[in-house]
Symmetry: C2
Subunit: 438 residues, 2 copies
């Protein structure tokens, strides 16, 4: 057969076991917290009708979507996010109990040019609450972010919060045309990347006058603790009903968050926070790891009350976030939060030779029945090769059963970390393994 | 905005929470067993170069593959199974410790015509062992199937086993040209579906003479216990080295399986078992649930020693299986193995009115900190609406905190199954919930 060169598409990744074991741990921790908050799992297909997916992003995102014609000539595409499929589900199954709280863990695909930290395939893991306008829902999402970050082991992190209505309100107070809001937001969203002077330049280029831009930039840089900022906002936005509504929403979320014990150091107003997507209508959030800000926001989202209307007869209010599993992974790696060694198997039972393999197999089986993740060596080769295998796979304990051991109903247990090795009675093996905190 | 009709592509499915919760349970049970055997997780991209995917199936499967050109003009396709990506991984990362034991849980896509029980997107969850020819590896796969089926709660099931070398050996003994083997196998694979007479007809149509076909069909229908069949096989295949090798392999696997305590009623030779794919080279397995055979084989696979050579310099022997999660689900559903009610949330804390919501929120938070999956009602509406919500979501317990309760530091706990309702002191709540085996 002609050989095929093994290669992987650019922007796509293999996760080999060493990395995958850690990713799986992260995902399990996150899922446990989501479920403790009562979010239920949902799954949707990877492929959808292209028109379903394109409705939200419009023509300019055509080329971000992996789309093609299937054999039936239908225009189909790989999902771009988990929010549009959720909106489709809400429209297709009106019988779902509302408020509908679901999480979805699934890959999404974007036909973008791959860059550092940007891939064409990545996992999303979104909790959303659909069918309520209550700010308690937004506060639940904030609390969920907080508890997830704690459960993952992060100590210093800031959930940044803002409200689109506040920005919209101030923009209108400045006399900027409301149609300009999305343009202003898209430029502001680049702040972290391009800096304040570049934002100023781009806003002026869009036709805003310098004095207006100056006042806008001063506004988004208001500093202080949350209460101080709220007080200033009330003054600056007095008389603007949309702005006032935004301040009330923000105050309400901060109030609930205080009651559930989220410290102010973990939840701060950032008036420069806007988020890129057009569809947010109120509160928006991002989460920065203070010791590792370079990975970017690890938990971002907000309220989107006008998206479901794309498919549904009437609008259904909703709020949700996305967690960046890749970014969480990078941060945990950088901050050395992972254990030194990761393995699935706790014990490797070696095979001395053909005459002893049945004893090795039986012992393997017994250990598994006790709930210990155990491998029997399935390759060929002597004991030192088998030890190397255990080392490569980070297996902590190796058991040797040679004919000498078998004669005396004993086994030899080797601790791979310390190199310590002792021959013990069969019946003492479990006791010994337990003492080693297996 | 113009409304988009919400619809899903034919052959694709949404998994709403009620079903997804059960699927997730199945997956967790299976994963736990796989890991107890020391299989490690691997993940690969959904999209691969089309030539990577097509190598194995050849031109006739072109139309089974979802393939298209990406914006860079590359021919790409959605993975068709998890075996080809595994072969690619083995070739790309020669440093992986061998024997390499991995499992992969991921969707695969097939552009086939959807039929009853056949979908265009479905989950595969494959354990494979790469890099060893030892029959102990095949026996490990059999043991893994056995333990997984037990862990899922199945009592009566049969792992059917056969060996391609035995069939090949007998075909050669019958004087059938070896090139005809794949043709014979493909017809034999349809036995369950089309019946013995149709198989006979098709074999004759392919040019085999009637007497040969008769002898072949008598062979594949040999009955008896495993030892009896092995004895007959030795006689029938004496002098045929390939056949003898197959019998040895079969005997070896049965021997190991006996040592780890797999009862013969759960592991039976079936000489008519062949499996459809061309690439199997030795042992093949399928698993039938005796009380629900209509779902078909739920665990099928075998040894494929000549597949890795597609990408690798040299052949790497391998053995593995696929579990049919959808079929397992159907069988468990039919056999009423699922609990009556499934829910993520154990408790719903109601909100009496605006004045009591903070107390509800705080209690919700406390219960969560105790590890209880708890929801606070986030919608609008009176208590009876909130009870209906709990009912729809199968939540077992509802807590009511009205102003009367708050005054006396009490809560009302309602058991949704019995309708029983009692007002208890705050401090007794946890004790009460624990007594209810929450």
């Amino acid at each position: 057969m002609e050989k095929i060169k093994p290669k992987i598409l650019k922007g796509f990744r293999d996760y080999l076991p060493e990395k995958m074991i850690l990713r799986k741990k992260i995902i399990e921790i996150v899922r446990e917290v989501y479920e403790r908050f009562g979010f239920e799992p949902l799954q949707t297909p990877a492929l959808e009708y292209a028109e379903t997916l394109l409705g939200k992003y419009g023509e300019e995102s055509d080329t971000l979507l992996y789309q093609f014609r299937d054999y039936g000539g239908r225009g189909v595409g790989l999902r771009y996010d988990l929010t549009v499929p959720l909106a489709r589900v809400m429209a297709m199954y009106p019988e779902l109990p509302k408020p509908f709280k679901r999480y979805q863990l699934a890959p999404v695909w974007r036909a973008e040019k791959p860059q550092k930290g940007r891939f064409r395939e990545f996992i999303q893991f979104d909790p959303d609450i659909v069918g309520t306008s209550s700010m308690m829902a937004d506060a639940e999402i904030i609390n969920l972010i907080y508890e997830t970050m704690k459960a993952l082991g992060f100590k210093r992190f800031v959930i940044q919060i803002n409200n689109r209505k506040i920005l919209d309100g101030f923009i209108s107070k400045l006399g900027i045309n409301k149609n300009q809001s999305p343009v202003v937001f898209r430029i502001l969203d680049k702040l972290e990347k391009i800096g304040i002077e570049e934002v100023r330049k781009e806003l002026v280029e869009k036709g805003l006058d310098k004095e207006t831009v100056k006042r806008f930039l001063r506004f988004i840089q208001i500093k202080g603790n949350n209460q101080e900022i709220l007080t200033q906002l009330k003054e600056l936005l007095s008389g603007n009903s949309e702005g006032i509504k935004g301040i009330e929403e923000l105050g309400s979320i901060l109030g609930y968050s205080k009651e559930v014990g989220i410290p102010e150091e973990n939840l701060k107003i950032n008036l420069a926070l806007v988020r890129g997507l057009d569809y947010y209508t109120g509160p928006v959030f991002e989460t920065i790891i203070s010791d590792c800000p370079e990975v970017g926001s690890v938990f971002g989202g907000g309220r989107y009350d006008n998206l479901m209307g794309m498919f549904c007869e009437k609008e259904i209010p909703a709020v949700g976030v996305s967690i960046g599993i890749d970014r969480i992974f990078s941060a945990m790696d950088t901050l050395k939060m992972f254990p030194n060694k990761t393995a699935i198997s706790q014990v490797l039972v070696t095979v001395f030779d053909k005459s002893t393999e049945i004893q090795s197999l039986k012992l393997t089986n017994e250990l598994r029945k006790l709930g210990i993740n155990t491998e029997i060596y399935l390759g060929e080769g002597n004991l030192s090769k088998q030890f190397r295998y255990a080392n490569k796979k980070n297996i902590s304990f190796v058991i040797i059963i040679g004919s000498a051991e078998i004669k005396e109903n004993k086994v030899t247990l080797k601790n791979m970390a310390t190199g310590e090795q002792k021959t013990i009675k069969n019946i003492d093996l479990i006791k010994n393994l337990k003492a080693l905190k297996l």
